[in-house]
Amino acid sequence: MKKYSLPFLTALIILFIWQAAVIVFKIEQWILPAPSQIFIAFWQSRSLIFYHLVPTVTEAIAGLVGAIFVSVFIAVLMERYQIMKKIIYPFLIISQTIPFIILAPLLTLWFGFGFLPKIIIIALVCFFPITINLFDGFQGVDHSILRLLKSMGASQKQIFKLVKLPASLPAFFSGLRIAAAYSILGAVVSEWMGANQGLGIFLIRATKSYLTDRVFAIIGVITILSIGAVLLVEIIARISIPWHYNKLKVKS
């Protein structure tokens, strides 16, 4: 806990300065509300925020799960077949230069304003870090271990199951951590294209109504959700690959 106390303290100081500045300089609320006003806005609209939070979180989870399936499929395909790696890898890299958000209008055109186009956007945003990390994990397996298994006469299937898969889990979780943060962001932005319900659309509406305190409150909630998603992945990782964290502890 001790290592978090310093940043926590820093955050408190910043909030305090912010609050003081708003009061001293008499900044108008619609430009920059004080932290206390933001908190009040949050409290007053808490049931509304919760109402809009549900679809956003649902979309994020669905998109992320979709991205995991796609990523594992692509990474395994590239690992298994050299030719697939040669074909897919360049596209994978190029795909990173496309901001997938620009596909959103197109997806809306094809699939309407429902969940599907949003989930596709989120999956598109999230799959890259998982795929690349997982694939690098497969490639990074200690060559001596592979030779050891070869000397034992292990089949490709055994090598994959017994070595490549477990050895690449830490890399997989690194990718998943990044993707988890992207998933909430992706959900919010995809809702800007059109939605009846969701933090993204709620944010837009609050902005248009000059409810700046509420805008800040929503931004705060989105940030906390992103951090929560990353923390959740971290917890799952610590449960699934305790050996990796032991190793880090021993090394340091």
Partner: protein
């Protein structure tokens, strides 16, 4: 009729960009401990890689129990120079892996792994991850995994090379005990003359790269051997002889 040697190497050569191993031949009888001694980089690991059947660049023939074997993967318990324990598996799971790759059912593999750990003094560390083990313990775990996989013929590549003198001594006795109980045939490499003499029935001396067998010496010290034997006159005499050859 005389039993054929457990392992017979005939005119083995390995060439990568340059020739690493040049026409090596030797025999190992069942139940023997044989050591291969040679300077670092002379090709000891390469020799084991070739014997174990994971190289494509080897020429010559290798016989197991008198018949020539071209497909040798899986035929030896090969312990690499580094312990190569899987960091994601606990000690007992690492040992169990040996049985599993061999083709045993999970349940049976587990029972046998636990038995092996109990029998050879590693049961207390069964639930440790390899990264939490000392160098000596790692080496023990790797050795047991190797034996779990195949205890017919062991190829041990510098099994004690990375250990301090005290741990190394303890592991010498550990290996001898396992050897006696399980009636193993062992071939190991080393660059330590005393270690070679203390453990083996026969020592093969390799030249610098490209490796050839310079000579071999039979070690006729009685068994079971004790640490104190290393100061005996006979031992020192053999040591002197070997040193003059290197």
């Amino acid at each position: 009729m005389k039993k054929p040697p457990k392992l017979g190497i005939k005119n083995l050569s390995v060439t990568f960009e340059t020739e690493i191993i040049k026409n090596i031949s030797f025999k190992v009888d069942e139940g023997e401990i044989v050591s291969i001694i040679g300077p670092s980089g002379c090709g000891k690991s390469t020799l084991f890689n070739a014997i174990s059947g994971i190289l494509d660049q080897d020429k010559g023939s290798i016989e197991i129990d008198g018949s020539t074997e071209d497909q040798r993967q899986g035929r030896f318990g090969y312990m690499f120079q580094e312990p190569l324990l899987f960091p994601w598996l606990k000690v007992w799971e690492n040992v169990m892996l040996g049985f599993e790759i061999k083709g045993l059912e999970k349940k049976q593999a587990k029972t046998k792994a636990v038995d092996l750990l109990k029998k050879f003094d590693l049961f207390r560390q069964a639930n440790f991850y390899p990264d939490g083990l000392s160098g000596g313990m790692k080496q023990k775990a790797a050795l047991l995994r190797t034996i779990a996989f195949n205890s017919d013929i062991l190829l041990l590549d510098e099994p004690f090379g990375s250990l301090d003198a005290i741990t190394r001594s303890a592991l010498h006795l550990y290996l001898l005990e396992i050897w006696k109980k399980l009636k193993l045939t062992i071939i190991f490499t080393t660059h330590d003359i005393r270690e070679a003499i203390f453990l083996s029935d026969r020592v093969y001396v390799l030249s610098k790269k490209p490796a050839t067998v310079i000579t071999s010496i039979k070690i006729d010290l009685s068994r079971p051997r004790k640490i104190e034997d290393q100061t005996s006159e006979k031992f020192v005499e053999i040591e002197r002889k070997l040193m003059s050859l290197l």
